[in-house]
């Protein structure tokens, strides 16, 4: 693979996707110190939001240690060069949340929908574009449909005003060819001024390989997270990815040793559990299940005695999508009843 001379914008997820792995309990101090470390390392974009996006604070997804507003107000003013982005899932977050984020100095908004439901994003993408923000359409669980469907949905988001489209492997299910097909088609068919991005999860250990495939197929924005801190087995570990890109001659503008140090000195010590491909995270990738279901399934296992793996396989079979965390306890109760455990 020859990627020599390509330029890629890296986008760190440790303070948003990483919130899942921390049950949304990252402290303000941790958030600020990691963001500052990344800023200094030259990371161009950093996402700061509840794991489930703006307005995600809930019984269903977990109440965070601090509100989105508190985190953003603490982090944004400390940045010297990095752009802070926020995630928004229509159906959870609203345009009021979006305006709040903008008031806090967020300049990039990523509006995420399930990969077949882009038409719920019109009001949010429309407003963000109108406000002059970097506006990203983020198509989640992109493994579930054919590349042509992803393109169709991407075109809707572009029509609403998005200037960048992501194909998102929320389940960490994709193999490099799956990425190539989707990103390749988006790059080929979308207007040249529309950027294309890829967000991976490492559930099958493919974070790096998939991200490379995405660059080769035309993506110029790639998500990852320092030390891989993210839902499931985490995101593409950015320090590893930076080293690989460096070796391949891809320009990122990120200082490899500095980003390594952020990973090792700040992020790893903060982890509640090793973010790795354990059997449950592997099951997410294998069964095509939304990565943030991991800890919910583990808790349901403890509470109701149904194995997390069995729960995740069944959730995959039923075609659950992002946001359906409430289904996990419901299913565990039903399975426990069937097995005479309760």
């Amino acid at each position: 693979m020859n990627l020599q001379g390509k330029k890629v914008t890296l986008h760190d997820m440790s303070l948003r996707d990483g919130m899942h792995a921390k049950q949304h309990q990252i402290s303000i101090e941790e958030m600020v110190s990691i963001a500052k470390g990344l800023d200094e390392a030259g990371m161009p974009m950093i996402e700061v939001t509840h794991g489930d996006g703006l307005g995600g604070a809930s019984v269903n997804y977990g109440f965070p240690a601090h509100s989105d507003e508190e985190y953003l107000k603490a982090v944004v003013p400390q940045m010297k060069q990095a752009k802070i982005s926020a995630l928004l899932l229509p159906g959870i977050g609203t345009v009021e949340n979006l305006k709040m984020a903008s008031d806090c100095g967020v300049t990039s908004i990523r509006v995420a929908t399930h990969c077949t439901e882009a038409d719920v994003s019109q009001q949010h993408i429309g407003l963000a574009a109108k406000m002059g923000m970097d506006t990203v359409g983020f198509l989640m669980m992109a493994h579930m449909v054919k590349p042509e469907k992803i393109l169709e949905q991407a075109k809707l988001m572009v029509e609403y005003g998005a200037n960048c489209i992501y194909a998102t492997d929320s389940a960490g299910y994709m193999l490099p060819d799956d990425v190539t097909e989707r990103i390749g088609l988006l790059r080929k068919e979308l207007p040249k001024n529309i950027e294309v991005g890829f967000h991976g999860h490492h559930n099958l250990g493919m974070g790096i390989a998939n991200s490379l495939a995405a660059i080769e197929a035309g993506a110029n924005r790639i998500d990852g997270s320092v030390a891989g801190l993210g839902a499931g087995a985490g995101n593409t570990p950015l320090e590893v990815f930076c080293a690989v890109l460096d070796r391949m001659g891809v320009e990122t503008g990120v200082d490899l040793f500095k980003v390594m140090d952020v990973a090792e000195d700040l992020v790893v010590p903060m982890m509640d559990h090793p973010v790795r491909v354990d059997r449950n995270a592997l099951t997410l990738g294998y069964a095509g299940v939304y990565s943030s279901f991991l800890l919910f399934a583990k808790r349901a296992e403890e509470k109701y005695g149904i194995s997390a793996r069995d729960l995740l396989v069944e959730l995959g079979r039923r075609g659950t999508v992002g946001g359906q965390e409430d289904m996990i306890e419901d299913l565990a109760l039903t399975m426990a009843k069937e097995q005479g455990l309760i």
């Binding site: 009021e96 439901e117 009001q123 359906q324 289904m327 306890e329």
Partner: protein, 303 residues
């Protein structure tokens, strides 16, 4: 003279057509007009085939028939954008408006919780909240009847096929209106609503989760009893309303997991979200008719 109140349906889409089919079985409400804005619409053709009068020039086109046809009830299944005008024009002629849009200019109505109150007050415009609200607010109300609810949260998961373009283009309105309903009718001090759209095939049945945080330790026996009683109340007009799991108690958290199967009139059975709206709207109109027949309320006078 028939005890039935005569009605007009505005909006010949899926909701309007389903409502018409339910209304044709009603002992209390007689559908007379279906109103649309497109003479070639399938919905108007369907209504005509079902034997009711149709009008393709919007609400303005039926104003002259309101008094002569003695129309007393209107159901608005159009959009929040045009509802206020529709309501004003028909209210002026003494027609009670039942609003199935998220406009929410009138008080919210969730039949087993506050329908009696709305009819006794002869509210001239009642709003049916949202499908998610109809499916979950009864549970929140059941819990708040036992003890104060500090926070009520609902998650509605619906099949992609059952979510129309009106909801999609303004999905914030769903979350906002539902959250207000959880507070105002459900009795939670703070409400939150989440909607998840799932495209699985075959389509999944509407499911709803209700999480309440009570101010003090929940009275498990009493809450369980009232929740089961409330489920039966909803089942009187939505037979496919089901408590699948719960109530589950975890500290001060009370959670219920619901499923709503529709009757499958015009919309398929999985679209319990649409069915619970049309059934609740019709139930509301019927209550007005019953109260009028019992003379507990007096409808606006007509010459």
């Amino acid at each position: 003279m028939s005890k039935k109140l005569k009605a007009v349906i505005i909006g010949p889409g899926n909701i309007g057509t389903d409502l018409l089919m339910k209304m044709q079985r009603s002992e209390w409400i007689e559908p007379v007009w279906m109103v649309g804005i497109d003479p070639t619409s399938e919905g108007l053709k369907r209504a005509e085939a079902m034997g009711i009068k149709t009008c393709s020039t919007g609400v303005d086109g039926i104003l002259e028939h309101i008094i002569t046809d003695d129309i007393r009830i209107a159901f608005d299944a159009t959009s929040a954008y045009v509802h206020a005008e529709n309501s004003r024009k028909l209210n002026e002629l003494g027609v009670i408006m039942i609003d199935l849009t998220p406009a929410a200019i009138g008080p919210f109505c969730v039949p087993p919780v506050n329908l009696v109150e709305q009819t006794k007050n002869l509210a001239m415009n009642v709003n049916m909240v949202t499908c998610g609200g109809q499916a979950t607010i009864p549970m929140v109300a059941a819990i708040s009847r036992v003890q104060p609810v500090e926070y009520g949260e609902i998650v509605a998961t619906v099949s992609s096929r059952s979510v129309g373009p009106g909801t999609r283009v303004n999905i914030d309105e769903f979350t906002r209106t539902t959250a207000s309903g959880v507070e105002q009718v459900g009795g939670a001090k703070k409400g939150k609503a989440i909607i998840v759209i799932n495209p699985a095939e075959p389509p999944l049945m509407m499911r709803d989760t209700v999480h309440c945080l009570t101010e003090t330790t929940p009275d498990q026996a009493k809450i369980t009893e009232l929740i089961h009683a409330m489920v039966k109340e909803v089942q009187r007009y939505v037979p496919g309303y089901q408590l699948v799991n719960g109530p589950i108690f975890d500290g001060n958290r009370v959670s219920c997991f619901m499923q709503v199967e529709g009757l499958g009139d015009f919309l398929p059975k999985y679209a319990g979200n649409l069915d619970i709206m049309t059934a609740a709207a019709l139930r509301t109109a019927e209550m007005f008719a019953e109260e009028a027949a019992n003379k507990t309320i007096t409808l606006p006078a007509r010459g």
